[in-house]
Symmetry: C2
Subunit: 338 residues, 2 copies
DNA sequence: CTGAAAGCGCTTACAG
DNA sequence: CTGAAAGCGCTTACAG
């Protein structure tokens, strides 16, 4: 099974390999007639340039890499992940870029992967997800010189491109809405404390509560599982001064919280209001359907892809802030009844 | 930023490039002392062989490809997908193979991707998911000569390795269990009709019902969404002779069915028994928790990876059948009350 | 056990 | 506008 190469095309067209390369890559220096002849032959024989050879000779790989830490991150990533990848893909494939997805067990493996990718020029750039506080990857990627876009709140002194959704605004919108409904005791069941966006939300939540003179509940940090959500809810509702509203950092915990509250005899939303962050089909399936913070994750991914492509072409751009998640009121929020 | 190459290592070690290559790849023909010296230098400078060059020169890529059709498949794939990939990864990385994940919009794009992958030797083999009835990909992969493992029921005259879970056994177990509880009117809300495993389940369900002399309900085919599950449930419960039990082809539809039944005033499981296929955290979160068909998807993935690695090394193996999904009775099934 | 060389399939200056 | 050649960084027969 001999593969077809540019040498074969060159022979068939009666030109040199170099001319074939120029024609195939749309570079100048080939007459229109020759170019057309070459393209016709290439199409006819179904020619596909060998990408290893292309990359080895110095061409761009036209591939964008995305490493995901697993399985620790599983639950956090699931609802968000697929939509983000869809959005990335849509934008990338429009520019003839491919997305290379790679699962890694931990940060050292992720960093090693970046090193290898860049060493091989297997990717032209990468997307960095799930940013931690003082994330070591940022510095590493910067030193490596690998073009990158960070999806997450821009930390201090980052010279990488970054994109993120303004979680602070969403928190304020949520707290003010609940306060307007008469809630004075609002708790928050948060995700992993070390994640950068968790911190942003936590700080914003404290400020928003303080602004309305609420006696704030300390955030409960979890691993995003339903079990953790149920436990946190049980603890909160069992306390001497239970909250009248709880905001959850993901949909699974919100569903678990809803079921837990109902099991404990609470009527939702009369006894307890519930807000889920990141809407999903599950939020609409439960009863009553969950009030949720909704955002266009696919568009988030598309914008990240656009930013990365421009970073690859012209160096790091400035931070982009996408539309924040907005409240979609459904059946789990209402005025305080007591 | 000059990259380190085997030429640099060779110079430092005072040997030729060929010897470095042999030493690095653990091939014979190098004295222990030389090998050790070379390895020490390579480790010290953090040498990483350029994979494009390796592959271009004819080495194995040590990469396994997995193409996923999106976004049409989104919902079907989500619950199952992550666990499968985890299992694949675990087994592959133990053998120093990487997993290359690629989203494609449709079958032509998927087929083109296989062609490109194999043309470039970017992968040593692929995993084929979401098998359709008379799937054209099977024939294509076979003709291409690309090592592959099919995850799904082996069709007729397939010479590719395949692995699948015996859905027929799970269907029989479910029907017999429901019959033992006294159910005589059992319906099934199925997934996409064109998927091979859907057909296997449908045929098995009809046979199992016939074996117990049940007047079978025709399967309702859906797109796996909660909306479709709710609609199917509404239709079934509104019919003159409604079922007393419904089996759903995924967790989302089962949850939607449960909520729909409750909205229609039915008590679950007294008025209606519900079984979900493929267990998930959501199944345990709703109230009452869903009786589900549970299987070890991660192990399924690991076995698929093992089969592919052996296929790459020694050609296609025979079909592997993994443990079927087994019933995990929870709160949505019980004896018939009327 | 080791070295020198050809070759994998491209791209890209460099001459004409 | 076109051709001949060098080079990307490896692997692998082929000699010694």
């Amino acid at each position: 099974l001999k593969r077809t190469t540019i040498a074969d095309i060159a022979r068939a067209a009666g030109v040199s390999k170099g001319v074939v390369s120029y024609a195939l890559n749309g570079k100048p220096g080939v007459s229109a007639a020759t170019r057309e002849r070459i393209l016709a032959i290439a199409t006819q024989v179904g020619f596909r340039a060998n990408s290893s050879a292309r990359v080895l000779a110095g061409a761009a790989s036209k591939v964008v890499g995305l490493a995901l830490q697993r399985p620790a991150q599983t639950l956090e990533v699931e609802p968000f992940f697929m939509e983000l990848v869809s959005g990335l893909e849509a934008e990338l494939s429009a520019s003839n870029f491919a997305l290379l997805l790679h699962m890694v067990p931990d940060e050292p493996a992720e960093v090693e992967l970046y090193r290898q990718w860049w060493n091989d020029r297997r990717v032209d750039g990468v997307i960095i997800c799930d940013l931690y506080n003082n994330d070591a990857r940022v510095r590493f990627i910067q030193d490596l010189g690998l073009p990158a876009v960070i999806i997450g709140p821009p930390g201090s002194s980052i010279s990488l491109s970054s994109i993120w959704s303004d979680d602070e605004a969403s928190i304020w919108e949520t707290v003010e809405y609940l306060v307007a409904l008469g809630h004075r005791r609002i708790a928050r069941v948060a995700g992993i404390a070390e994640l950068a966006h968790t911190r942003v939300r936590t700080v914003a939540f404290e400020r928003a509560c303080a602004a309305s003179h609420l006696t704030g509940f300390p955030a409960t940090f979890t691993d995003y599982t339903g079990e953790a959500g149920a436990r946190a809810t049980r603890d909160l509702l069992s306390s001497p001064e239970p909250p009248t509203a709880i905001v959850y950092d993901n949909d699974i915990m919100a569903v678990a919280g809803l079921v837990t509250a109902q099991e404990m005899g609470r009527i939702v939303p009369a006894d307890l209001a519930i807000v889920a962050w990141d809407d999903s089909p599950i939020c609409r399936l439960v009863h009553p359907p969950l009030t949720a913070l909704t955002r266009d994750i696919g568009d988030y991914g598309s914008q990240a892809a656009r930013l990365l492509l421009s970073t690859i072409a012209q160096g790091p751009g400035k931070s982009v802030i996408v539309d924040p998640a907005h409240l979609t009121p459904r059946g789990t929020t209402g005025p305080v009844t007591k």
